[in-house]
Symmetry: C2
Subunit: 335 residues, 2 copies
DNA sequence: CTGTTAGCGCATTCAT
DNA sequence: ATGAATGCGCTAACAG
């Protein structure tokens, strides 16, 4: 391994001089600078970033920890984070938390390999987060309500989103509305469900537990849930599905078995993933501010890093996206 | 910042003992181990991973460099890489190469921050790659034909894939076949086109340049391309689209303007992204071995790292996925 | 089983 | 403008 020492030797200068030359510090004459650069080139010298970071005790990079690096949902979030990070001259690396305590993510959290991090992964424990956060290592939490020193949560108003979705259905004349939810440990899913409940109550519609079915936020989960709903003797006229992926799965199932969307059953999703715009019919859904969330998270990290004051927590709002999978019940009856 | 020294002091042991205890080396008595651990706990000690890496000159992580962290295509690839990496006890971090020479990716390439890397990004120059590769830093190149020492390319047989797709269309009786390609600098796209050409020639079908239109591999590009094709007075009976995303866009356009797929026009795509299975009608396409590619890349990295011999390069094959968007021209004429 | 010590590769202060 | 010397936090060889 060729080090800066080797370069210095070859260029007949001291290490410090080599370092200056390599890093563009202007203390060194053009003459020697070129000598050093050439020596480095000849030896194919690569600097060891860690050593540099160790010395400077600054990594100039932030990490984004996701429970799963793949999935359509994350694309926009990542873009948001990235855009702001590069603005600040920081690097972004993404890693996943599969494996929990032993994951790559854990290493970044506990070993000071980055200057700060943004977490959207529910298999990282609150305890780990609390222990890791410090003035020099701020953490932004996405979709997790945990206020601590040096830790700021950004959540989206899932409950209100669920409320809006359900209210919209009710306004369209539906009062037999099913709910396809997420896994029990999903805080998001739970909040969306509460919004659903609230809308129901407000309109004096009884909640029917047989019409609450739980999926796992995947396309397949949506199919299965749809199947369960379709199998019952009385069928709801509309479904609020807790995320778009499941909604797409449900739509597919209904199409397969000849139940028409929206003529026979209306569907509203949640998230507004890219894909939802391209289905036939186009999915009516609730906009989740993914990009904004990423960008804001990035912003907050840098404020924290700069020692500025920030809000204790942030809440982002949702928005109804009306497309083609919800039909007015009157239209339906006439049809 | 609390260091291992502080911990040692508080526990009344030497640094080495603290290090052993912290790292679970069994040279130390249970008694002292607990003492050290407790001291660490009390001081909220976090180890500096860099310092450790520096000392060990091993990072135990590999990087995956993508030109864009988002996009449906990458999900499966990432899974493949990841699965193998964790098998080997390695961590995986993903970073993107947006920004070219100054990107995060570049840092990882040139600053030895990881033990090896897998690159699927065409804005990283060959030169950079050549300079970075070394026995201690193997590089696996995806979809880029560049054989060098310590650098092994994995490519998919795009040409043959294009050939298969086109031949399939011809066998179904089509001889007016348009091609929607990718950007000019896409090697993949170019190869797929060559396969198309070869199939045409083999069946003595003249290539018509007006039926070659170029998109940018996005959904919108596909829509636009479809529009251009539809606008011509004579219309092809089939289209080979160089990737699924564009095929989806094209299908959407055709549906919008009342051109039926496949009754009026057959479409075959390329990649077999998850989504293509969920369209109506379901997209006929060519399978791109994404997961396998990732897994293989990972494998190769570890072989290289272990100093084993590997093939100079790998070629992965494609497979026709027959679904619903290609119709036999006879059926069509009868219809 | 525990302590002393020598670097890992680099940036940087203080002389010169 | 340049060089010698120091130490960042950690691991591991060696000595006790």
């Amino acid at each position: 391994m060729v080090t800066i020492k080797d370069v210095a030797k070859r260029a007949n200068v001291a290490v410090s001089t080599a370092s200056y030359a390599l890093n563009g510090v202007k203390k060194v004459s053009e003459e020697t600078r070129r000598k050093v650069l050439q020596a480095a080139e000849e030896l194919n010298y690569r600097k060891n970033g860690f050593a540099a970071d160790l010395k400077k005790s600054k990594t100039q990079t932030i990490a984004l920890i996701l429970s799963d690096l793949s999935g359509p949902f994350y694309s926009e979030l990542i873009r948001g984070v990235q855009d702001i990070a590069v603005d600040h001259g920081y690097d972004l690396i993404a890693c996943n938390s599969l494996g929990g305590q032993n994951s790559t993510a854990a290493k970044f959290l506990t070993e000071r390999r980055v200057d700060g991090c943004i977490i959207l992964a529910h298999n990282i424990t609150n305890e780990m987060i609390e222990k890791s956060a410090s003035p020099a290592f701020p953490i932004v939490l996405l979709d997790r309500q945990l206020e601590r020193a040096h830790t700021v949560p950004i959540i989206v108003d899932n409950k209100n989103g669920g409320y809006k979705a359900t209210t919209f259905l009710i306004q369209k004349g539906h009062n037999n509305i099913a709910f396809i939810g997420g896994p029990a440990d999903s805080h998001d899913g739970q909040m969306r469900f509460e919004g659903y409940l609230e809308a129901l109550q407000e309109h004096h519609i009884d909640f029917q537990s047989r019409w609450k079915v739980t999926g796992n936020f995947t396309r397949e989960g949506g199919e299965l849930a749809a199947k369960i709903i379709a199998a019952q003797d009385e069928r709801p006229t509309a479904i609020f599905v807790a995320n778009d992926e499941m909604a797409l799965g449900a739509m597919e199932y209904f199409q397969k078995v000849g139940i028409r969307v929206p003529e026979d059953i209306s569907i509203i999703g949640f998230d507004n993933i890219l894909e939802s715009k391209y289905t036939a019919p186009k999915l009516t859904t609730v906009q989740h501010p993914k990009y904004e969330m990423g960008a804001l998270a990035s912003h907050v990290i840098f404020q924290l890093l700069d020692g500025e004051e920030t809000e204790k927590s942030f809440t982002l709002h949702t928005e109804l996206i009306m497309r083609e999978t919800v039909i007015d019940i009157m239209t339906k009856l006439r049809g």
